[in-house]
């Protein structure tokens, strides 16, 4: 390792760790407060936006993506891309069959 003393490692400062922690705590408080206000269909999107902001903070700073090779972020975001495809297509498919559903009748979903 002596042949490579250059800084491939990023050491986070305590200050930064604590700032992110405070931000995450604030996000938690915010998301709980937002859930207590009835915003109709917006509730879920506001909640998801706050959760995603928190996730980005954790990813960028606690998981070091901010200082990492971009390839790692690329990989991680790729997983989310495929997750969205999975969820999106499943929901589109399910919505397509929605008119055929009988309310309250879901054989196989009960016992």
């Amino acid at each position: 390792m002596s042949d490579h003393e250059s800084s491939f490692v990023h050491v986070s400062s305590v200050k930064l760790l604590l700032i992110v922690w405070v931000a995450l705590m604030f996000g938690t408080w915010l998301t709980v407060s937002a859930s207590n206000i009835d915003l109709g269909f917006l509730n879920i999107w506001v909640g998801l936006a706050i959760a995603t902001a928190k996730a980005v903070l954790v990813g960028l700073f606690y998981m070091h993506l901010r200082w990492d090779k971009p390839f790692n972020s690329f990989f991680f975001l790729g997983a989310f891309l495929f997750l969205f495809l999975f969820i999106g297509f499943a929901m589109m498919d399910s919505a397509h069959y929605q008119p055929d559903l009988i309310p309250g009748y879901s054989p196989g979903m009960g016992d």
């Binding site: 490579h4 050491v11 700073f61 606690y62 997750l83 929901m91």
Partner: protein, 286 residues
Amino acid sequence: MSDHEHSSDGLAVEHHFENADQQYQSAKLGMWVFLATEILFFGGLFVAYAVYRGNHPEVFVFGHHFLDKNLGALNTVILICSSLTAAWAVRAAQLRQIGMLKLMILLTMLFAFGFMGVKAFEYNGKWKHGLLWAGQYDPHLEDHGETSHDVIGEEFAEDAHVEIVNEETVVEASEAQTAADADRSTIAPAAEGPAGLAAPDSAAADETGEEIEPANAQTFFSIYFLMTGLHGIHVLGGIGAFAWLLLCARRGDFDSGHFTRVDMVALYWHLVDLIWIYLFLLLYLI
């Protein structure tokens, strides 16, 4: 931030790597690939959630009232604190502060156990009230003035026992409900309005303090237990990994400035925290 003098990993470089940097980056890339598979692993459950909630929102509105928002928020706070200590542990390992490293690992484990404790408390409540997954769903929500006899009986009972206790206590309520359910599944969808997000009929619910239960309410609890259960298993795995790190630290493995292991476990731990952030929102807050 400025401490780059301890930047090398301190591990012997394996012969198939050019240098420590490449070795470290390879380990890290491998970890990120693993985390990507973890996202997709949970992804299946998120799809189940999305599809079922898309089609039957009333089931989720009904179900989430049985989850305690405060306990969920408490667990979120606990996990965020544990993420802080995990990130701090990485920093300590990088700077060869072995004492600090041990302390941070211990704190992270402590938070993890705290999380599981709260989870156990919640699961216990669900179990007592029969709010379980599909086939085991058998709600008896009245605050049955729990004689100690009942409690003991339930805790040790096989499923059959629980059912008996339950039948004795809720016979009348459930008979009417069953009749209504039977009608509902065989007769006329046209007669029913869209259940949607309509407010529960509070007049009818007054008697028992219960809400009108939508059909297939058990599905919420199936999804709840699968998602939080899988997450809980990951937390247990994390506790194991941190215990291993503690042993490594005791053995002096990190004295040389080697910190890759700490970094990888911390990455895993942050992902567990990340997933919980979404679970908390989707299950407890709706």
